[in-house]
Amino acid sequence: EAGVAQSPRYKIIEKRQSVAFWCNPISGHATLYWYQQILGQGPKLLIQFQNNGVVDDSQLPKDRFSAERLKGVDSTLKIQPAKLEDSAVYLCASRPGLAGGHEQFFGPGTRLTVL
């Protein structure tokens, strides 16, 4: 079974530029998460989708971050404009659904550096 795919793996941009990350979850997984992991910290939830609907985006900085999962499969996370403090690893995770097993399966992450 293929794991969670993310691209790009690394991205370097200057502040005020925009950037987009892509995630393809494990086939059949209805629930998808985006996390931000700043160096030395644990992952922090940005947004949770159930199919193509948003379950929780309370910690998403909506003035600059946006995310979508239009067809309920893959998802994109965008930052516009980027700030220095957005430098982090952006992790995508999925799980089969809200019922059943609680384990989330993570992709390799995208490391963003904002200069």
Binding site: G42, L45, G107, P108
Partner: protein, 111 residues
């Protein structure tokens, strides 16, 4: 506020000995607890979990203990192996919701 705390940033253990990683939480609504292992440049990998109705779960060399009254859980690795060297994250969630992670503990197992 940090609802899941791992107060030891690092731990060094000799190969063959027991590794004990600790985690404390503050939210009494958490009912599911997980441990993840992370190697550099990779995403976290699920290791073991426990629900709030249990106090122990074992999987091979890994055992997780949950003390609900103390809001404390621990991960025991016996015997420790050099390949266990990684960052270990404790995570917790109310059922169906996203995970709240600790800051991680870096485990080094020396030969």
């Amino acid at each position: 506020d940090q609802q899941v705390k791992q107060n030891s940033p690092s731990l060094s253990v000799q190969e063959g000995r027991i590794s004990i990683l600790n985690c404390d939480y503050t939210n009494s609504m958490f009912d599911y607890f997980l441990w993840y292992k992370k190697y550099p440049a990779e995403g976290p990998t699920f290791l073991i979990s426990i629900s709030s109705i249990k106090d122990k779960n074992e999987d091979g060399r890994f055992t997780v203990f949950l003390n609900k009254s103390a809001k404390h859980l621990s991960l025991h690795i016996v015997p420790s192996q050099p390949g266990d060297s990684a960052v270990y994250f404790c995570a917790a969630s109310p059922s169906g919701y996203a995970l709240n992670f600790g800051k991680g503990t870096s485990l080094l197992v020396t030969p």
